[in-house]
Amino acid sequence: MIRFANVYKEYPRTGLALNDVSFLVNRGEFVFLTGPSGAGKSTILKMIYMDEFPSRGALWVGSTKSPDIKRSAIPQVRRKLGVVFQDFRLLEDRTIEQNVAFALEVVDTPSDKIGTKVSRLLTRVGLASKATNYPRELSGGEQQRVAIARALVNDPFVLIADEPTGNLDDRATRGVFQLLKDINASGTAVVMATHNLELVRRNEYRVLEVNRGQLVFDSGDASVKVEATP
């Protein structure tokens, strides 16, 4: 359901960011994406949510192929994904519930359904009691939970997390990671880029390691050799 087939990404100034990357993420899988800074983790994630496109090769997200996708079709793909970042990316001038509701409004959710959906999502991430607080009144871990709630508004089949615990202390990291595990347990695939090797070691999920743009290790070895054709 996410398939990279011999993907290359080259930037005019910085050169090759991805070099012949192939892998397959199956439905409901949890995958760690590791590697040093600048190895290409974020580029891979950006390609999944179609913010970047391969220079050569192709990838499939669900049934959508990149780079063949039309610009106008990208929003539809993103509505099937959830994305969270290290810096949470919340709107500071809106309350927690408004932050989540905003994502629902953007995709034209009927207004009578927004309220119930927001409170359900906030309950799911354990923040129902802080619905009317502003982001600055929350801890880092709580803010990341809000971001996760927002990422879940469209019931995505995969959650893309780019260093979601990078700004959090151990305790908050454990909490957020537990939440990601719960989300995965309910059937949503998770692709999580992380530097936290401790976290990777303690959990027996599949690991993809990139270095200098190449996929150097895949604990679910078989899928490294993905055919170039769909």
Partner: protein, 283 residues
């Protein structure tokens, strides 16, 4: 749409000064246009009433043979720009002069005034060029002593009208250009101020059209406000002039509405173009 309106209002509240500046420049561009159009409109209606009286009067040499006069009358009647030719003999001229001049009627003696041909121009041919053509035909005839027509001031009115129209267009365009620059700058600032929201919108699957919509609403509202402000200012200017100098016509409601619509169009189009440009720069 509700979200678009809300976000647009938020933009107004966040940068009220810049929004007011956008509205004001749109208003000034339309005001310049409006004021000069109003001048042109009033000159035009003045011209029309003057033109209705446009008449070429060819005074004839005494004792001109009737044949020559009849021949000329027939020739003139055939011209498309001539509505009617009338022969006024010396006696009629005297009666008319006495009627027109009232208390001075006694200064004229019989035989003092020459006979004349009064040539009325057809509507649409009452401009200086057409009048001049008829005058040229008549002037050189040996039995025509003198030709009189209100050439100078018809020409002047025409010229003033054209200058007013051209000045209005040029100033309007100049102000519109300033409005375009300011609206574009204000949209750029709004786009930058909302970069985070826009990136989140895109991330959760907002379409480009959806992202642009608040900016279009913003431009539309600014345009309508600018148009209304311009209309108000034009109306005030007209009222002041009417009270202190002379009665001035105002635009009919349909034209006034057209002015506001022009503001709305200007605001929306500039927003549309600049939001596209600025959004494409934003990753």
């Amino acid at each position: 749409m509700r979200l678009a309106v809300r976000e647009a209002m938020l933009a107004f509240r966040r940068s009220p000064l810049l929004s007011a500046l956008s509205v004001t420049t749109i208003a000034f561009s339309l005001l310049a246009f409006g004021l000069f159009s109003l001048v042109a409109l009033n000159i035009r209606s003045a011209l029309r009433s003057v033109e209705e009286r446009v008449e070429v009067r060819a005074f004839l040499v005494d004792n001109t043979p009737v044949d020559s006069i009849a021949g000329l009358m027939e020739e003139l009647s055939k011209r498309p720009e001539v509505q009617r030719v009338e022969y006024i003999d010396a006696e009629q001229a005297l009666v008319r002069a006495r009627a027109e001049l009232g208390e001075f009627k006694d200064v004229f003696e019989a035989g003092f005034l020459p006979a004349s041909l009064d040539i009325r121009m057809r509507e649409g041919f009452r401009d200086p060029a057409a009048v001049q053509q008829v005058v040229e035909q008549v002037r050189l005839l040996p039995f025509v002593e003198e030709v009189r027509y209100g050439a100078d001031w018809i020409e002047k009115l025409h010229r003033i009208r054209n200058i007013a129209t051209a000045t209005g267009v040029v100033l309007g365009i100049a102000f519109a250009a300033v409005a375009i620059i300011i609206i574009s700058a204000s949209i750029r600032m709004t786009v930058l101020a909302r970069a985070r929201e826009i990136s989140i919108m895109r991330l959760v699957g907002a379409t480009d059209a959806f992202v642009r919509r608040p900016f279009l609403v913003d431009g539309f509202v600014k345009g309508v406000l600018g148009g209304l402000l311009a209309l108000l200012l034009t109306w005030l200017a007209r009222t002041v002039v009417s009270k202190s100098f002379l009665e001035v016509d105002f635009f009919p409601p349909s034209i006034a509405m057209l002015g506001v619509a022009a503001g709305a169009l200007l605001g929306t189009m500039v927003s549309s173009v600049s939001v596209r440009r600025h959004l494409s720069r934003l990753k």
